[in-house]
């Protein structure tokens, strides 16, 4: 096995075994683990409290318990999260942080408190007016409040320098991820859509400093290789996430490479660094203020379409695939704007409705195949 394969297989293992990773971490450190729900809650606060932040982005499960709380028109991610909550899959989490991201997530903390009363559920509301001074201070105050609650769980105070240190560690990790995405464009044969996702997903279940080391090692190894002569279709994907695995395998099957992403689970987490400030909480507030292009943060200028165009230009992509999470209203509301921007820019795009639990893949296959044929025809 080459070094690249070794790293990818390690990251793949982590991505597929979140519960084992939490268990292992607890055993090794004696520390506690905190689940963090999507989309924009700074993990740094959990890290600074000496706990393991664990991304809670649903997963593969059949849904049978969740309908007790969630209607059929809720997104599949939250259905999976509630299913896991009720089936006891999160029993190893010592607390769960729920940001009020959308209408569905707004009610999740209440349901969780009822379903698992023993686990502290920490709600957080991030501001729409995130750019004004008061908004930045408000974000900072929300994070301070989370830290207070985490301190009660661990019994240890979190000093400002602890958080400063965590912010630095995360800035380094995020920069490494962005660097990896860039380098991966020249190695589409190795960094397949599936492998690319494994690199992203694994970051949610291991300490970031460790993940950074692996990602940097991966970059070093990739740089040593000859760039590949990729003949397939280079696309930028946008949406909440690119799961399940079968979907990514289909991307591979029809000759796609993902050369950049604008996914809530992917680049949106990594692309905006926390700027310098003496107050680490303000740093997190400013990061949210500087962040652009997500359906789940207020953006009156609707910059996402322009950002996608920029990504297409930078990576010389052939088109964009909009991965529309079924029943995700924030993403649905954004679509008409990005559609218009892409059409005006002459960038072909595919609207692909996905669910985290895919019952049948036929419809998705036909669309992906037809879009690949469309892109091929444009090249001729």
């Amino acid at each position: 096995m080459s070094k690249v394969e070794e790293i990818l297989s390690e990251l793949g293992y982590v991505a597929h075994h979140p519960a084992r990773m939490v268990e292992q971490w607890k055993k090794e450190t004696g520390g506690k683990a905190v689940g963090i729900m999507p989309i924009h809650c700074a993990e740094e606060v959990v890290h600074a409290a000496g706990m393991l932040p664990v991304g809670m982005w649903g997963g593969q499960t059949s849904i049978s318990l969740a309908p007790e709380y969630l209607q059929s028109f809720c997104c599949s991610i939250m259905k999976a999260v509630m299913e896991f909550t009720m089936s006891g899959a999160y029993k190893n989490l010592d607390a769960i942080i729920c940001p009020e991201t959308c209408d569905t997530l707004r009610v999740i903390p209440l349901m969780m408190r009822k379903a698992i009363p023993q686990t502290p559920i920490i709600g957080v509301v991030l501001p729409d007016n995130r750019k004004i001074d008061a908004g930045i201070k408000y974000t900072a105050a929300e994070y301070r409040s989370i830290v207070k609650q985490l301190e009660q769980i661990t019994g240890n105070p979190v000093k400002d320098e602890d958080l400063q240190n965590s912010v630095e560690i995360y800035n380094e990790h995020h920069a490494a991820m962005m660097e990896f995405f860039k380098v991966a464009v020249d190695h589409c044969d190795i960094i397949t859509p599936y492998n690319r996702h494994m690199v992203i997903k694994s970051s949610y279940f291991m300490p970031k400093e460790k993940h950074t080391v692996l990602v940097k090692a991966l970059i070093d190894e990739l740089i040593k290789l000859q760039p590949s002569q990729f003949k397939g279709h280079k696309v930028v994907v946008t949406g909440i996430m690119s799961e399940p695995d079968e979907l990514l395998e289909m991307f591979g099957k029809y000759g796609y490479a993902i050369v950049a992403d604008d996914l809530a689970q992917g680049s949106r987490q990594f692309r905006t660094p926390a700027p310098a400030d003496d107050d680490p909480y303000i740093r997190l507030g400013k990061r949210l203020a500087n962040f652009e292009g997500c359906s789940c943060v207020y953006d009156p200028e609707k910059l996402r379409g322009k950002l996608l165009k920029q990504l297409v230009d930078e990576t010389q992509a052939d088109g964009v695939v909009v991965l529309m999470m079924k029943f995700c209203d924030p993403e649905e509301y954004d679509y008409p704007f990005i559609k218009q921007d892409l059409e005006e820019a002459g960038i072909p795009h595919l609207y692909l409705e996905i669910e985290q639990q895919m019952e049948s893949s036929e419809q998705v296959q036909t669309r992906l195949q037809a879009f690949a044929e469309l892109l091929e025809e444009r090249k001729n």
């Binding site: 072909p348 609207y351 049948s360 036929e362 419809q363 036909t366 037809a370 044929e373 469309l374 025809e377």
Partner: protein, 264 residues
């Protein structure tokens, strides 16, 4: 040179044999789709109609829902690309195709060469599809191909507001129970299909000429309702069920030509 296109849908199997990518030598439609004897039979029948055997065919392209399970096909291409090519062959001025099949609805925008520019398909739902009409025909105790004639005799369409097939079924039953005529209810059903498909069409933008294909295009009542809903002229393909198979045969020809050029 002879090429064959096979289009295996959810409810029917279609095949066409073409000569030099320009002439339809034989074609065949069998009302059984993927997972039945339909695919095998349609191949046998079309070969028989052309008085040929498999060895006379240079290249076979399979398309449609069942395209991946056709033994003997040289290649499979999505039905989107095949429909576009087939309709372009039959009606070159087409820029928008509305295809309503047994289980899905597609709206495809094509350029002047018949290449796909954009497309949308319905999601996992029977609303607006041939299946929807089948369910309604059962409730109304008539055959699917009688629907068109019935709606032609309607005095005033009874609005059917549910898009969901299951709810629409009970809505139709209660409209009949309330004393509305079958004719008026059928007209309402056609309007409902048209509304559903039109909303999909508006996503890609409807540029004339707009052409309807697929089995449902044979129902003049739906076509009329679509014209009203979209406020635009809608043509129907002369061989509505065969466009996919014809497109596949044309693409098969193109493949062989390309391979030849590459070899020369």
């Amino acid at each position: 040179m002879f090429t064959m296109g096979i289009d295996i849908g959810s409810t029917s199997s279609k095949a066409a044999i073409m000569e030099d990518g320009s002439k339809i030598v034989a074609s065949c439609v069998i009302p059984f789709g993927t997972g039945t004897s339909g695919p095998q039979r349609v191949i046998e029948d079309v070969l028989q109609a052309a008085d040929m055997n498999r060895d006379n065919i240079d290249y076979i392209v399979a398309t449609g829902y069942g395209r991946r399970s056709i033994p003997g096909a040289d290649e499979q291409i999505s039905e989107i690309t095949c429909h576009a090519r087939g309709v372009h062959f039959l009606l070159p001025s087409t820029r928008t195709i509305i295809d309503i099949g047994g289980q899905d609805v597609k709206v495809i925008r094509v350029d002047e060469n018949g290449a796909v520019m954009n497309f949308v398909m319905n999601e996992k739902c029977a609303a607006g599809t041939g299946r929807f009409l089948e369910v309604m025909a059962r409730v109304l105790e008539c055959k699917v191909d009688e629907l068109s004639m019935l709606s032609n005799q309607a005095k005033q369409a009874v609005p059917i507001s549910s898009t969901c097939t299951v709810f629409a079924e009970s809505e139709v039953i209660s409209q009949l129970a309330a004393g509305n005529s079958r004719e008026d209810v059928v007209a309402g059903i056609h309007d409902s299909v048209a509304r559903r498909v039109a909303s999909l069409g508006k996503r890609v933008g409807l540029v004339p000429d707009v052409v309807m294909t697929g089995g449902v295009a044979q129902n003049e009542g739906v076509v009329k309702a679509m014209r009203q809903e979209l406020k635009t002229e809608i043509k129907t393909s002369p061989l509505p069920q065969l466009t996919g198979a014809i497109g596949a045969a044309l693409l098969a020809y193109q493949k062989v030509q390309k391979a030849k050029q590459a070899n020369d």
